[in-house]
Amino acid sequence: MKGRAELEALRAALGARAVRAHTPIEVDGVALGVTVAPADADSLSAALQALSQRRLAAVVRGGGTRLGFGNPPRRADVLLSTERLTGIDVLDAEDGVAQVWAGTPVAALREATRARGWELALDPPGEGSTLGGTLASAATGPRSLGFGPPRDSVLGLSVVLASGTRTRCGGRVVKNVTGYDLAKLYTGSFGTLGVISRAWLRLRPRPERELVLRAPARGLAKTLERGVAWARRPGVRALAIVDAELAARVDPGSRGAEEGLVLIELAGDAPVVERDAERLARELRAEATSERALERVREVQGSTPRPSGMRVRVSALASRLAAALEPLARVGAQLLVYPGQGLVYGFVPLASANDAAAARAALRESARAGDGTGCIEDAPSWAKHGDDVFGASGPELALMRSIKRRFDPEGVLNPGRFAGGL
């Protein structure tokens, strides 16, 4: 924030309740001591208008679980929080759709939909994740195998653009090609094009039966091929493979996990779940465990080694997963793999700048070996070292810049934080 006068001006424009000064929160090296928290869409619109008129830049904040994910802000003056934009406006249990405010915690939304016989097809890591933050960062968890990515859940969005203009795209129906699919553009744009205020979501039917199983892994690389094959079977909603160290955190009581652990969630009609559980018992020596184990996988996925460490994610071709693991294993990363989604998470403890450089190099190598992409999801600012945490962007960055310029010409929204400094 540039000064006291700016703060007072924002207060005057938005009301004292919507503008709060606090002990500074650090976002990638920038200390932010003011949070703007609009109470409704009109006030969100007024806030963005006020910010863009004063050329102030905002870091948009949902639950704050992924604030570490991004490049250092080019400019940042305030946090713009969706904390007061909460609530479920519609939960249509006949049609399986819901309209929900962006600041609503995913956990609360999940409970509410389950209570009405439906399933929210989102499972981001991070307690306190909000719907808006999950959509904006396209955050996924182990169940994205069955659920698909967040964009599949989005039917329509209300978005306030940087200028304060309120817009909508999509709708409430499950099939729609009315105009450009802007919802795809906003989902995963890390709040750089507009602030999502509300969303229409498609819900999934709740399966008749859910069952989490665990099985010993015989080394990560050797288990991958079977993991891919199993993950492709209908009715497998999640499949994770973790190394021995993580196994102890995921399923503390488990024996036989000296070479890692496979966790599988089956979901579907009871006879099929039972049959598959038997097959898994035969083929992988799988046995039932509690759903908590899957929750712990999600917790691990969203964690970063302490006191200091880096969390990386590589998206690789199924056939190249083993190759993608190697470089990360060499720098001592703990590993979590979702073979069905082609995702590898590496958790690298860091003691020095050299460690960080090695980890960054391993990430690049891993993405190349996997014929995919890699990003740093979390790390202290010093460890990012000016590398783009989203990995190298190609020539299509010019198109992305052209989009950013048109949606946010003043650079109000998260400037510099997204891929290629968007």
């Binding site: 090609v177 082609g342 020539p395």
Partner: protein, 482 residues
């Protein structure tokens, strides 16, 4: 511009080859419209490039001459999307029809845009795989057209539309440059440009290569044909199925008027002529699950008063059931020279009353209107058989079409579920979106296609105060930033 047309054709021939350039009136005739026959335009030439470089040369030639251009696949589109602006150039991708790569280990195919939808599944079948989006036009329409329209099909209900199956794209941008969007291992860093281009109706560039996800052929399939006394009971059964938590792969309804037309045609499927409505339910998955699911659906249908519940005993019978659905367009087409296939979506629970309203509108305008539709998605297709040479009837078709859209929007729906906006519904975008919403769409278009040379006049209504003919004005941003 007309003065330069002769030069244009020569330059296009130089760009793509003499045998890949059409310009004689009799050659151009079929390019005057797509599957929506009431909107027409007259291109100056059609080019048929065989590779990406030729597409780039064609685009650059158009730019040199300042003429607009429009990508085209098989021309089966139903919203005038592939319609050429008068004097523009059609870039038809039909010769780019090779499956470039099949990667069964990763369940991926890389194809050129002119590959016919059904041919891709045929190519993948030996690996036990197929391409899931299955528009009813799949024997003719191209993957490029599917990408542009984000096409769906009967099995979209379970497997999603085209957008759920496209991993990466190669695109020739409106300035002739080539771009690669997405990766075969998933989204690339940055904005989801693949998601933005799918469904953009050829207005953001010309798709020259598509990387798609393939699915495993299902272990087992069950197909039911249910007959009801009236369409409302069929719709209610669909609602029951959705609410029950079952996810059939298809839930399709054929109404009484369509049944009669089918049974009078070569597509006759042996349906009782007095059937009020036919509901086709398809389930796929492990055989173990399907038996009980079939029984549950039978129960639901019975309690809604189904007069007949048939379960296909073999593939031949399954094909016969589907004939009742797939023959509908052909059968309706026989009733009059033209067929207007309308497309709108409503919340699934609103189907009964919306259908009633739709039929009432057709009757009030004295039109032959019938319905076949993707009931599980709430995606209606009111079909109107008419003769476009009769100006009065044509006017009634258009007026009824608009009223139908209004009814759907009022019910919480949208004005197209899979056929796109094109020229047909451009001026109805305001039923759903206000100026600010449309302006946001315009920003996306302008980032790719700033002067509007690529497929002009589609999707976004022309701002009130800028002239259609002025390309500069087309890129004008109506709501300036403060």
């Amino acid at each position: 511009m007309h003065a330069g047309t002769a030069g244009l054709v020569d330059a296009l021939r130089a760009a793509v080859g003499r045998d890949a350039c059409l310009c004689r009136p009799e050659e151009l005739f079929v390019y005057e419209c797509d599957g929506l026959t009431m909107h027409t335009g007259r291109p100056a030439a059609v080019v048929l490039p065989s590779d990406t470089a030729a597409v780039q040369r064609a685009v650059r030639t158009c730019r040199d001459f300042g003429v607009p251009f429009v990508p085209r696949g098989a021309g089966t589109g139903l919203s005038g999307g592939a319609l050429a602006p008068d004097g523009g150039v059609v870039i038809e991708c039909s010769r780019m029809n090779r499956v470039l790569e099949l990667d069964p280990a990763n369940r991926i195919a890389v194809v050129q845009p002119g590959v016919v939808n059904a041919d891709l599944s045929k190519a993948a079948a030996p690996h036990g795989l197929y391409y899931a989006p299955d528009p009813s036009s799949q024997q003719a329409c191209t993957i490029g057209g599917n990408v542009a329209e984000n096409s769906g099909g009967p099995h979209t209900l379970k497997y999603g539309t085209t957008t759920n199956h496209v991993l990466a794209l190669e695109l020739v941008l409106p300035d002739g440059e080539r771009a690669r969007l997405g990766t075969r291992a998933g989204p690339a860093a940055g904005y989801d440009l693949v998601g933005a281009v799918v469904g953009s109706e050829g207005t953001l560039g010309i798709v020259t290569e598509v990387t798609v996800r393939l699915e495993a052929l299902p272990e087992h399939v069950e197909t039911l044909l249910l007959i009801f006394r009236d369409v409302v009971s069929a719709c209610r059964t669909v609602g029951d199925v959705i609410r029950s938590g079952l996810t059939p792969s298809a839930l399709e309804i054929v109404d009484q008027r369509t049944v009669a037309a089918i049974e009078d045609s070569v597509y006759a499927a042996g349906l009782p002529r007095d059937a009020g409505a036919v509901l086709i339910v398809e389930l796929d998955g492990p055989a173990l699950a399907l038996g009980p699911q079939v029984e549950r659906i039978r129960e639901m249908a019975r309690s809604r008063g189904a007069t007949r519940v048939d379960v296909a005993r073999d593939d031949a019978e399954r094909a016969r059931f589907w004939r009742a659905r797939k023959g509908a367009f052909g059968a309706m087409g026989r009733l009059a020279p033209d067929l207007y296939v309308h497309d709108a979506v409503v919340p699934r629970t609103r189907l009964p009353e919306v259908l009633e309203a739709v039929c009432a509108i057709g009757d009030r305008y004295g039109l032959k209107l019938s319905n076949v539709f993707h009931a599980g998605d709430g995606n209606l297709h009111p079909n109107i058989s008419f003769d476009r040479r009769d100006p009065d009837e044509l006017e009634r078709v258009v007026a009824a079409g608009e009223e139908i859209l209004r009814v759907c929007v009022e019910a919480g729906g949208v004005i197209t579920g899979e056929h796109g906006i094109g020229t047909e519904k451009r001026d109805y975008m305001g039923l759903l979106f206000d100026d600010a919403d449309l302006d946001a769409m315009r920003r996306l278009r302008d980032a790719f296609n700033p002067d509007g040379a690529c497929n002009p006049g589609k999707i976004i209504p022309t701002p009130r105060f800028c002239a259609e003919s002025n390309p500069k004005a087309r890129g004008y941003e109506r709501v300036p930033f403060e």
